[in-house]
Subunit: 392 residues, 2 copies
Amino acid sequence: MNSDNAIPARGFHHSEYERRCAAVQNNMRDAGVDVLWLTTEADIHYLSGFLTQFWQSPTRPWYLLLPQSGKPVAVIPAIGEICMRRTWIDDIRTWSSPQPQDDGVTLLIDTLIEVAGNSPVIGIPQGPETYVRSPEKDVQRIRRGLPGAQWTDATALIRSVRQIKSDAEVGKLRHICQITSNAFATVPDIIHGGMAEAEAFRQFRIACLSAGADDAAYVVGAAAPGGYEDIISPPGNHQLSHGDVLILDTGCVFDGYYSDFDRNFAVGAVDSATHSAHQRVWDATEAGLASLAPGVTCAEVYAAMQEVMQPANAPVSDVGRLGHGLGIQLTETPSIAAFDKTALRPGMVITLEPGYSYAPGKLMVHEENLLITDSGYELLSTRAPRDIPIIH
Amino acid sequence: MNSDNAIPARGFHHSEYERRCAAVQNNMRDAGVDVLWLTTEADIHYLSGFLTQFWQSPTRPWYLLLPQSGKPVAVIPAIGEICMRRTWIDDIRTWSSPQPQDDGVTLLIDTLIEVAGNSPVIGIPQGPETYVRSPEKDVQRIRRGLPGAQWTDATALIRSVRQIKSDAEVGKLRHICQITSNAFATVPDIIHGGMAEAEAFRQFRIACLSAGADDAAYVVGAAAPGGYEDIISPPGNHQLSHGDVLILDTGCVFDGYYSDFDRNFAVGAVDSATHSAHQRVWDATEAGLASLAPGVTCAEVYAAMQEVMQPANAPVSDVGRLGHGLGIQLTETPSIAAFDKTALRPGMVITLEPGYSYAPGKLMVHEENLLITDSGYELLSTRAPRDIPIIH
């Protein structure tokens, strides 16, 4: 595994999107939903292939409608028309945006009625990990413009499909995880004591790009004497010093697909508490890996990792879960958590991310990425060493 | 100008946030709003200083409440507590998230009542360029949990304050624009005919980081024979070839502040239509710059640039506007557009971004970043040459 160094082709065959839409539409029919109204980058990207960093601009709303049969219909700002034409979508309706008086509202209402009639059941994702990316006033106008419509939650209709990755998706995820592993392997050569945190993070970003990532979109972490306590802050001016523990957590991107794993390093030397804590989260990951099989629930995988960390008699770090799904977002469903009874299925790509507080103000978090297979799992990240590496 | 090469300090003095909150609270009092409920990265970052890339994970909701007086109150997942403690916020309430059964909903309702009573007027941004980053089902639960509340649109209360940058904010924007200019200056050395688009974009990202950017968050563009028609797509496998026109548009980041401008290049040679089109958008920018002064409206700046492009007898590219505000987001209000009558004020940082279609399927878009001053403007980006540069 991880031996395939060929760069996967960008994009997908149209059959990939046909499969995704057919699966969601099957769920729609079972749930009696006539049309989905989608507003977020991930949902629109997933069903149309529309890939752009332009989502970083909050200015314009973007909409995709999925009827119960047939292809999705795009209702988007004209600035995105050419980019959308590169996808498998045929029916693309545009307006000149921004246009605050009517920023696609009338066009969306008219298209919804054309696609699903005057009394449609309209599904929108309303559950955990979703939001509606449309100004609230426009949402209200759209609801008023469709007095005969019923509105229902579509979260589960899409989530269950997105959780299972196709071979082509796995190919992209395997590739970006390998790139990220290769970048982490260079850390002892590029990050040294005396460097400012911000400079270390910058050099690591460059390493990810040099290894072949399209982007190192997410680079967070910390370095602190004898152990860190925060894993989501941006880097500061702190100079890496002898005795620091450094964590780098990264989400790199290839063709819209994310890796998400971290690595820990000790600067110059490591104390025994930190050394043991690293071994413990590594062992917890090992226990998590050993538990993986189709049919096993996320809650059971969580318990397997917790079992290893509990003897430390220390509370789990308050992050709420010990891993999550991975794909076109840095974090996807399911959650490796006590509350999540989702059964693992072949094709799921997840992270295992055990972490705990091994001393007051000191966290240790470790993470790997993997694919659930018929027989168990395939590691997508190159397994970290059990002993925390020392850099100089 | 642009001669200050010192790296600005990260973060701000607390007085910066006191000023921002006081200005928003003044607007709240005028509008009779008791408390703001904020849910998005930009709004929370702006009033608290909470800076993290963790927003890329859609899993957890994050909330900030701004009462009519006093400091904001954070209601956030426990994973963010340490990062929030680095800010000026004192009152931080956390829950272990994700927790789908009650992901902060009860805590938020209780805190809202504590802060603003049982019958508060609650302001949330509902207008253009906003959205509510909370699952729709949670929004409904929160509304049901506050039956005595009135809800009102708070878009304008924050927008008018955010549009005016402090000297400290301008320092960060000046710095990242200078870094981005320096990175663009290296393009003739790092991008060459024969390179795949994706590789060219990757090398440019590395150049931005090497020049000192924390991140090259936004890198889009295109290269196409004799002219491009799409400015928001990701790079593909197309090899840069003699006669291609290349546009690179980038948003780089320093300490949470964005540059946003583009540069055009001709590969090997340039045809006369493209050469003229570049001169025309450069001239349109010059006209836009000449029009800048406090009190002039965005619509008037738009008209000044349109006047230069109109004689080309070609329709403006359908992007809806010719520039926008800039700051902690890649694009902010106001819009340089016919519909936007916002008067320019000293301290506004904006882009001028004239573009038009100079032949079927051929766009030319040009962009500069600048600060509105008492006497006119200060360029933050290093002015592009009027003639499109040729790279080999």
